[in-house]
Symmetry: C2
DNA sequence: ACTCTCTATTTTGAATGCAAAAATGATCCA
DNA sequence: TGGATCATTTTTGCATTCAAAATAGAGAGT
């Protein structure tokens, strides 16, 4: 089995929330499940630790990284910065074809919004933002963005999507698309920052689904 | 020996240019030198591959990542974005003490500049930028910045530092410090972008020291 | 009954061993 | 002499094994 595959599969397990944040990662169990030995598993865990998804405790095993409110704030801040950068770069380089694709994703997303399909809406939302990042034509940026968004998604926060918020988000997305079509880098950068700031406010206000560690609470004296 | 230590030591070896970009990483040799077995070494290599410093070729070993001009451009773009973000955040959060430290680093750097000490000048330069990033108080940002700058430094480009360029860089640093003291986030962000753009132009114009792979050239048919 | 300590078990971290793939080079043929 | 093919050696990737550390548990002492 390829090393990369193991990393990918464990990453998925973590992103799916199958192992909740803070919970211990059962080495032996995962080995059996993936039908590999501990060597490649441990290699994968080290890589994921470098990515920030796993926390290694010397001689005490590895845990799914636990994200504090501060961590989430930090991640959103960086995400915001990366998207703003991507927006500026994308305006310089994006092709008409790529714009059309993003426009299509936007249209699909609006449709899902009208139908009230939250899951599909999120998917479309993600497609738009990833489209912009890809259009920046900078693989380094793409990689960092993927890493940061993965960690954010990991938190599996539940945003109470009020109609007002949906409407705001859709409006902002329209503005984003508009700026892209006008190739207005600075304008897009500002919109993206505002957009993400709104999203961050939602998230932090709601708090994110603090999935319990699958362990007994600490005995406090 | 701690796993982290191995990663750090190999990273240093790579950053020192001891293994030139594109060159094969001699597994056996490194094992002997670090007095470890292949297991922790390979773990470290996988981590460094995730960081982008090492390139893994299935069944063909690992090589020190080779950076193309495009890679360098991409890295500089992202570095620029991260610094701009850091500057904005730093203006909101930086303490007088931190400003004083950066001011001290700046003063020291100017002194080295006057003395023509390039090495120390670079060191001071780095201290200033790292100071700003740290002042942003965002560990996620700090981590990504460290990773990106490490890869850039890895390239060991040789910039022909003309007096004009030095003067420009020093002037820009003064402006940076000034904006920080005024807590002018937007202004600082712009200065940092311009500053890095200048630096990037130098680098790309000069080309970077394309250290030869320590291998015979490919036999071309 | 509670806690402390000492031992046994489990788990982690690293070394070694083994099979498969690639690189090397030696031989054979045109 | 040049090139191709096959055997040998080396290297890679993973499994297994082993020592050390941590955890859990039993027993003794207060």
């Amino acid at each position: 089995m390829l090393h990369e595959e193991v990393v990918g599969r464990i990453r998925d397990i973590l992103l799916d929330g199958e192992i909740p944040p803070g919970a211990r990662i059962p080495e032996r169990e995962l080995c059996e499940r993936l039908e590999i030995s501990r060597t490649p598993l441990r290699e994968a865990l080290k890589v994921l630790a470098a990515e920030g998804l796993v926390q290694l405790l010397p001689h005490r095993g590895s845990r799914a990284a636990k994200l504090t409110d501060k961590d989430m704030r930090d991640l959103f801040e960086v995400c915001q910065g990366l998207e703003a950068l991507a927006g500026e770069l994308a305006c310089e380089r994006i092709t008409d074809h790529e714009i059309a694709e993003i426009a299509a994703a936007h249209a699909a997303m609006v449709q899902h919004y009208r139908e009230g399909d939250l899951i599909q809406y999120y998917r479309g939302n993600r497609a738009i933002h990833e489209g912009i990042v890809n259009a920046a034509g900078n693989p380094v940026l793409t990689g960092l963005y993927a890493s940061v968004t993965a960690r954010i998604r990991r938190a599996r926060y539940v945003t109470p999507m009020t109609p007002q918020r949906w409407a705001l988000a859709v409006t902002e997305h329209e503005a984003i698309l508009n700026a892209l079509q006008r190739r207005d880098g600075v304008g897009l950068s500002h919109i993206l920052r505002a957009h993400l700031r709104h999203k961050r406010e939602e998230v932090l206000q709601a708090g994110f689904a603090e999935t319990e560690t699958s362990e007994p609470a600490l005995k406090i004296a």
